[in-house]
């Protein structure tokens, strides 16, 4: 018994008994509080129940909910009373089971446990969640971005672990107790210089790589020999995307925001012949031909939105009053991607990634990448946007276009 309970437990018991008898009123208050809370909760629940009964005529008393409430209240009370009890025992008996703990040693051990454990779990999580990361880029420039990302990870992850290990080593090696005297050292020029160099090299390397790659996706791409090109427009509004394809002339027509209204959802200026054959697909889908250089013109009708194509590493704000554009070359069709990932229902997606209002989270559009032939076939099934004749005359009167 002695062994099981432990020395300190046996020592504590008489104190506890004496304390309990001396502090009768405290226990009484505690019990009273307990009872009061129970009665209060019961009364409140009962009142709610009566109200409910009157409203619905036939509602059974929610016993399980009532009991759960009681359990919660009692748990909280017991935790509080236990806490208070320990505090009072310590105060009145002077017996403190934690007094013998060495503050520095205990915390040093906790650092080792939590720190090293934390590093382990950080790495473990990185691998555990790898299947959920975005798959390898489906666009040409995205491959460069992925390469840059892997390069930076291969520097930062070891640095993250090493610097933390240094920190933990210092705690383990120099905590008060193991060490009784600190060494007076104002600085060490060699060390400072070494750390300056150690940090400068990756900074310069990353800066050069980053600036070089930055020039590619947005404005550096030129169509290669024989590469197909395509210009489309994506227009954001609260809370959906609309896509516009050029017609047979491969050119997008002009628009102006004051022309928006009725069926002319994008404010196309139908006095411009280039606009007359533009195509506004009805389905919420974007079709892109694989291997073609796609230029996406992005604009917004109302507030800031952002065109976010995570699988293509493409991202640009849609700014009202400003014409933004991005370029990308899709490298893999949806079908191939499904086969590659082994997910038959995989789809590329377009999301809004700049807070635009309540339904910001729900501005999805499916992106279908297919072969040039499939794309042409799909496009031919889409009808051109046409303006009702009376609207055309109206627009001609106020022919204000960009």
């Amino acid at each position: 018994m002695q062994g099981a309970l432990g020395h300190s437990g046996m020592k504590l018991l008489p104190y506890l008994c004496r304390y309990m008898s001396r502090m009768r009123w405290m226990s009484a208050v505690g019990l009273l509080g307990l009872g009061w809370a129970q009665i209060g909760a019961a009364a409140k629940a009962r009142a709610a129940e009566i109200a409910l009964e009157q409203a619905q005529q036939a509602a059974a008393f929610d016993w399980s909910g009532f009991l759960w409430k009681l359990v919660w209240i009692e748990t909280l009370l017991i935790v509080f009373l236990a806490f208070r009890l320990i505090q009072l025992v310590v105060r009145y008996t002077g017996y403190d089971p934690f007094a013998r703990w060495d503050r520095d040693k205990v915390n040093m051990r906790l650092w080792m446990l939590v720190g090293l454990g934390g590093l382990f779990f950080a790495v473990w999580g990185t691998f555990k969640y790898a299947p959920l990361y975005l798959p390898a880029s489906a666009s040409e420039h995205g491959k460069l971005i992925d390469g840059l990302r892997d390069g930076i990870i291969s520097f930062t992850y070891p640095a993250f672990i090493l610097v933390h290990l240094m920190l933990f080593y210092m705690i383990w090696r120099y905590y008060n107790g193991k060490v009784r005297q600190a060494v007076y050292e104002e600085t060490h020029h060699g060390l400072e210089r070494a750390s300056l160099i150690a940090i400068s090299i990756p900074v310069v390397a990353i800066a050069i790589a980053g600036i070089y790659i930055w020039s590619l996706p947005v404005h550096g791409q030129k169509p290669q020999e024989g590469q197909k090109t395509l210009e489309i427009e994506l227009v954001a509004e609260q809370f959906q995307w609309r896509v516009r394809y050029p017609g047979a002339d491969y050119k997008l027509g002009r628009y102006h925001y004051t022309l928006i209204g009725g069926e002319n959802v994008l404010g196309l200026d139908f006095t411009d012949p280039k606009a007359q054959d533009d195509i506004l697909p009805a389905a919420k889908e974007i079709h892109l031909p694989v291997g073609a250089l796609v230029t996406i013109h992005v604009r917004s009708k109302d507030v800031l939105h952002s065109l976010f194509l995570p699988h293509f590493r493409t991202h640009i704000y849609a700014v009202p009053g400003q014409k933004n554009q991005v370029m990308l070359v899709p490298t893999i069709t949806t079908k191939e991607m499904r086969r590659k990932l082994g997910k038959p229902d995989f789809d590329f997606e377009l999301a809004c990634n700049q807070l635009c209002g309540g339904a910001h989270y729900n501005m999805r559009m499916k992106v279908v990448v297919e072969t040039w032939e499939e794309y042409q076939q799909w496009l031919s099934t889409q009808k051109p946007a046409h303006a009702p004749s009376e609207q055309v005359t109206e627009i001609r009167k106020s022919s204000q276009t960009l």
Binding site: W111, H219, A359
Partner: protein, 648 residues
């Protein structure tokens, strides 16, 4: 005329004030509300900041619930939120309002007003040996503007259309158009008013801090003998003075666009079935103005935190801060560079791509002084004697979070890599770790460390340890997994992740994060209890509980006007004389001269009275010559005695 007499009396009183501090009659109002004493103002900032911060953190509990259980109904939400949670389901617009207010409160109220306001007010006069701020009246006004800003901000919760909801950055046109979302109605106007009041408060404070540091340092306190925390607070005041006014301009222009029909940020807008007449403006103008504040703001939050960490690490490791000069230059370097990096928040906004290259280069530059600071913290611990006290744990926590969060800045600061990561949870994880949690930890550490200086009582150690470990583990569990979500491309500010295939699969992790967050938030109650309980019933603090060298521990425990009853202390050494070879104790306070050491002043003893040294008459030259140059060696181990250790 009673009023006349009173005025005369007040003037006379103010006259004698310079000679006689302390024992004049103070009413509740002059002592606690309209106090011009920097120590009281520090308490006011601390409590207001913590209360606001706690509310801000509670808001995150509500939206974390929504993110983890988007299809569950919580009836208690309807009880507390009313129409914003019909049938226990959070309204998407109110979700945005919660996110917005969470960000605003924590960035501005807790980590700018609360952190800088508290520690600049408390530490600048006390550590540089001044009787008060340069202008105590301006200082009082600074808090009152801050306070009324707080009131206006919280009042916006109770207007019919709800508080501002366009994100803490309140990008127009969303924030400028009441028809775009409910939160852009009166709530937005109140948000702007609150922010303007707040900035006025910050500027008044900042002016004061700069003037005080430059003009009111005591004898011997040269700039390069100032503690690093004063350096940080001083630099931050300059940063604030230069960067907040453009933000106020941005907010005022936003208010014009919002209420007066101007078009600074608006152009070509068709909303709610109507084409607006505004033309020629551009939201990117707002983005530039905002981030011209916004990025220095990050360092306005971070530098005081790192300054506090420097003090804590050096004091509790009983070792001089490693590379003091490098640390000072790092602070100045970070402050300078912070002004030329703002556009890295806008890499994908459609600004001129050339700017992307330039801002990539300048952004990465910040890594150098930041990393130097980290290395110097670690080298300070090296060969130290690390007392793992509660403040020290929080300081080490700050360093750890700064590493975990800072390294991911390499990803986000590079323009091309920002493309897939911009506005994803990677960003959320990054800034919460690097400037959110790390600054909060420094603030906690500073509070545990300087609590005895503020209230003359110690905080409870054991509760402090439990609080630290709970918060440290909890915060890591909450924010580190967000990096994983970022690699999955999960966008931030989403009401639910149910609509996209690439976000759906993260639901389990979201539940995990929410549970960790709720437990961590509940754990903060330990701190709240400890804070208020210790304020009244804590163990009375000794004069210098941590055996620190800086001047604030030389003034009497009980607060008095003017800080030192007699003379101002004179500074003879830098603030980091810990474990100096040949010295009789492992710390030498700044006001102890070599003559004092030679004379055998025993400053490390518990009953030592610093005023006996500070108020002493200057030794005449003949007397000084008599003193032997060799310090008397005192072998007693009393300063190295561990008060908490068992006596074997």
């Amino acid at each position: 005329m009673a009023t006349h007499e009173m005025t005369v009396a007040a003037v006379a009183h103010a006259d004698e004030h310079a000679h006689d501090h302390g024992h004049h009659k103070e009413t509740f109002w002059t002592k606690y509300i309209f106090s011009q004493d920097h120590k009281t103002i520090a308490k006011q900032f601390l409590i207001t900041g913590f209360v606001a911060g706690f509310i801000g953190i509670l808001l995150s509990a509500i939206f974390r619930l929504q993110l983890a259980f988007p299809d569950k109904s919580f009836p208690f939400l309807e009880t507390i939120l009313g129409k914003w949670a019909p049938e226990g389901r959070l309204d998407p617009n109110f979700y945005m309002a919660l996110v917005t207010m969470h960000g605003t409160i924590l960035v501005f109220w807790l980590l700018t007003g609360g952190l800088s306001g508290t520690f600049a007010n408390l530490l600048i006069p006390l550590q540089i040996g001044a009787r008060d701020m340069a202008s105590p009246f301006l200082n009082m006004l600074s808090f009152h503007f801050f306070f009324w800003g707080t009131v206006v901000l919280f009042a916006s919760f109770f207007v019919e259309t709800g508080p501002a909801a366009a994100g803490w950055t309140v990008y127009p046109p969303l924030s400028a158009l009441p028809q775009a979302m409910p939160g852009s109605g009166l709530g937005m106007v109140l948000w702007i008013i609150a922010l303007v009041l707040f900035v006025v408060g910050v500027l008044m404070g900042g002016l004061n801090y700069i003037t005080t540091v430059l003009n009111m340092r005591t004898k011997g306190m040269s700039l390069m003998r100032m503690p690093l925390v004063v350096w940080a607070l001083f630099t931050v005041a300059i940063l604030g003075l230069l960067s907040f006014p453009p933000a106020v301009a941005a907010f005022i222009l936003l208010l014009f666009d919002h209420s007066l029909g101007t078009s600074f940020y608006l152009s070509d807008i068709y909303i709610a079935g109507q084409a607006l007449p505004q033309q020629g403006g551009n939201p990117l103008l707002y983005l530039h103005l905002f981030w011209f504040l916004g990025h220095p703001e990050v360092y306005i939050v971070l530098l005081p935190a790192l300054g506090i960490t420097s003090e804590l690490i050096s004091t509790h490791a009983r070792k001089p801060i490693f590379g003091y000069k490098v640390m000072v230059y790092s602070i100045l370097g970070i402050a300078f560079v912070s002004f030329i990096v703002w556009a890295h928040h806008m890499f994908v906004s459609g600004m001129n791509p050339l700017l992307g290259s330039i801002f990539t280069a300048t952004t990465l530059l910040v890594a150098i002084p930041s990393a130097m600071k980290i290395f110097n913290y670690i080298f300070t611990l090296w060969k130290g004697r690390i007392h793992l006290t509660v403040p020290m744990l929080f300081a080490i926590g700050t360093v750890s979070f700064f590493i975990s969060g800072g390294l991911t800045g390499f990803f986000l600061g590079v323009a091309p890599l920002d493309i897939p990561l911009h506005n994803t949870y990677f960003v959320v994880g990054h800034f919460h770790l690097v400037m959110g949690v790390s600054a909060v930890f420094a603030m906690f550490g500073g509070t545990y460390h300087w609590f005895p200086r503020l209230w003359g009582r110690m905080m409870n150690n054991r509760l402090g340890y439990i609080h630290f470990w709970l918060t440290f583990i909890g915060a890591n569990l909450v924010f580190f997994p967000m990096y994983y979500m970022g690699f999955g491309g999960v966008p931030r500010r989403y009401y639910a992740f149910t609509e996209f295939d690439f976000t759906k699969s993260w639901q389990d992790l979201n539940v995990f994060i929410t549970i960790a967050a709720l437990v961590t938030i509940a754990g903060q109650l330990l701190f709240v209890y400890n804070f208020f309980h210790s304020m009244f019933w804590g163990k009375p603090a000794p004069r210098n509980p941590w055996k620190a060298t800086t001047l604030e521990w030389s003034s009497p425990v009980k607060h008095i006007h003017g800080n030192w009853p007699g003379k101002l202390p004179v500074v003879y050494r830098w603030p980091y004389d810990y474990s100096k070879p040949g010295a009789p104790a492992d710390f030498i306070p700044q006001y102890i001269s070599d003559e004092d050491i030679a004379r055998g002043v025993r400053w490390w003893e518990d009953d030592f009275e610093p005023l006996s040294v500070i108020d002493r008459e200057e030794p005449s030259e003949g007397e000084a010559a008599k003193v032997s140059p060799e310090p008397t060696p005192v072998p007693a181990l009393s300063p190295n005695h561990k008060p908490d250790a068992p006596t074997a």
